[in-house]
Symmetry: C2
Subunit: 428 residues, 2 copies
């Protein structure tokens, strides 16, 4: 880990820089697959599944029997853990329901918003060695609470043609409507355009590799909405002498084990704590099965020693981390000053893995500095706010002339005339 | 206008299809300009302003004197109209403030969202013959109410090097922090990357021509967030025998005058009304200064006669119009069934121009079917929801084991270990 002690403003910029992400070089490959899915549908999806996942599929849809079987085969301990997490995620996202207000902006002019769920959403859950059933919970649970009618899920099968049972179990618990065996670019294309088996959706959610990210961006330009752009996962920990070095080390390592491109940043006002964290990392790293990956990610990681907590928060706000852990005793005071972050963990017991799995908050969060402009996935992500308005003759009397004047000044005579006709009518 | 009487399901698809929008062919040109802005900053912006707007600029920033002068030169009638509109837009968007809740998802695990404004936003307002000062109000007013710190605005100057005074006046009233003379792709690039004069922002809002749209999409892939993808403006009117044919015709023409690619759709259960609307359009069209544009847009427009109101709402929901006017007496009943639309206008007096200018609702709305997944611009567009969580030892006891089991099953040992360490500590 590279250590910066009292860095200069120029070094602040260096510290907060992300690796350049450019999926443009993949666009040709990805676009070819998307075009093929668009024109040949299921047949093309099946061919790519055979090519990329070594799976020969008769049907893309997962049957009820397959789901029943998966639920039966899920160990009780895991089933219970998924149920517990689902309960907390449900409670937190249900608490995000809001009531909108109907107001008279002026007498006779009533305006309001109505919250309406997106009818059709598509969730993508990657395959690979580790089945990301937690992501199923994070996406399907709020979709169900929002009231989305069709919640479909695509995930790549193994060479045996089956999706990991934990993914199917989580999907059943969270209320997914229909599950399909499709991964990678072909899954994104199928949900964006629709095939014989897989319905077209209006918004696609979920993580994936660079190809999946590129495919989501390409389809988002014309065909469908997406949750947010994605980059490597990140954590920033703010710590001081009151922090527990072993806990801090464990949190940094949790992030580092995600992948060799994971971003790990420790900001501290204590050189002593920094040293202790480094020793603890050495100890804990050895015990990790994924220590190769974690060690490589730590190679790009940074420790920054600053003079004050105010500076620490400023640097964190400039970085805009996906996850921010404030591991100091005065976390309440610092939390007030957070402006840019995806999800914030307060105090020594709020480890990132609590929020990754079971506290109730969502783990689909903005990376790569996008926290400056994006929220993480939440109930809003599955809703739209449609505006409504109603005017009475009094309303026309109150705003009619202003509309006429403004329309005339924007040289839009038909806009003006639509109001003039109403104004004339109410005079009679 | 093409009339469909009791269309078949295949014709429903045809009716709801939009013209194919593909800005990809512009990408090379747009990308070259963006790259140039990124590397050469102000100098490049000035060169493009000279090339595209015939404006030789010394400074890009608009001075306080220029704004003072613009406000003084704005006719009182227009100033008052802008103030009235600003008041209504402020009241409606301020009513969208919400309180978030802090909840215990389980004893000892507290989660909440905090609403935080986006710090830096950039508004783009096109130039041309008609100054879109109403768009300034629609974007800057909610940005100010949300509490965005830096609200910058770019708009192209005329050949005299000045921005239209109505735009500057609206910007002053709505609370824009700083205004710059820059249009087109160069304005989008300047706000996405920052130049010596124009600061980089986190989110760009506003309409524009195809080049501006392509530029917004390109910069949104890596550098900045944008409000939403854009297409030609649209209206769908649902009418029956209770509707006023002259009002309906005026509303259709308001949309048609926007541009030759405007989308106009009348859905009615009454053949009689359809005929009256056609006659009224003939009469009103002649009186319009922009009748050439409107006539051409009407050439692509559609009248659909259906058997029931339920069918009418179904077709409208399938189309997902930017603007939906329900011009029937039973608008309340129909409004309940609206699922996909940007902004809905209820009853004979709620003309689209009321919402375009002064009722208080926003006029930056999803086109091209994006209403299936996007909301129009509203207070949320300028905020993020950051999640926070705090755990006590009791919280660890309640969710710790579930986190361990889930992390283990996802093969993320460091995630598990971060929780195990906390569980061990509280046992002591």
């Amino acid at each position: 880990m590279k250590t910066y002690k009292y860095p200069s403003p120029k070094e602040w910029t260096e510290i907060t820089e992300r690796p350049h992400l450019d999926t443009a070089r993949l666009n040709k490959t990805v676009n070819d697959i998307l075009t093929d899915i668009k024109s040949r549908g299921d047949e093309a999806v099946k061919e790519y599944e055979e090519k990329f996942d070594n799976a020969k599929l008769q049907h893309l849809a997962v049957s009820q029997e397959e789901i029943d079987e998966a639920v039966r085969s899920t160990p009780k301990e895991l089933y219970d853990a998924i149920m517990l997490a689902h309960g907390n995620i449900s409670r937190f996202h249900a608490s995000q329901h809001i009531e909108t207000k109907k107001i008279d902006t002026t007498p006779g002019v009533t305006c309001w918003q109505k919250i309406v769920p997106i009818e059709k959403v598509g969730l993508y859950v990657p395959g690979g060695t580790a089945p990301l059933f937690s992501t199923v919970l994070m996406l399907a649970t709020p979709a169900k609470i929002a009231g989305c009618k069709d919640i479909i899920l695509c995930s790549p099968p193994g060479a045996d043609g089956k999706i990991n049972p934990a993914i199917l179990t989580a999907a059943r618990i969270a209320g997914v409507s229909k599950i399909y065996k499709a991964g990678g670019v072909q899954a994104i294309g199928a949900m964006a355009y629709g095939t014989e088996s897989i319905p077209k959706v209006y918004k696609i959610f979920g993580p994936g590799n660079q190809y999946v990210m590129a495919a989501k961006q390409l389809v988002s330009l014309h065909d469908v909405s997406i949750d947010m752009p994605a980059g490597p996962s990140e954590v920033c920990v703010i710590a001081d002498d009151s922090s527990n070095a072993a806990f801090v080390a464990a949190d940094l390592l949790s992030q580092a084990e995600h992948g060799i491109d994971s971003q790990v940043l420790l900001i501290t006002t204590s050189e002593h704590l920094a040293k202790d964290v480094i020793s603890q990392i050495d100890i804990q790293l050895k015990a990790l099965p994924r220590h190769g990956i974690a060690a490589q990610a730590l190679g790009n990681s940074k420790i920054v020693i600053l003079k004050s907590k105010d500076e620490a928060i400023s640097l964190s706000n400039l970085y805009a981390p996906e996850h921010l852990i404030i591991a100091t005793d005065d976390y309440d005071e610092l939390a007030e000053k957070v402006v840019n972050a995806g999800s914030v963990f307060l105090g020594k017991y709020a480890c990132e893995s609590a929020g990754d799995y079971a506290s109730g908050t969502n783990h689909t969060l903005p990376t790569h500095g996008y926290a400056t402009a994006y929220s993480g996935v939440n109930l809003d992500s599955f809703n739209r706010k449609i505006t409504f308005q109603h005017l009475t003759p009094e309303g026309i009397r109150n705003i009619g002339h202003a509309v006429e004047v403004m329309a005339e000044n924007e040289q839009l005579s038909a806009h003006k005339n639509a109001m003039t006709l109403r104004m004339s009518e109410i005079k009679h």
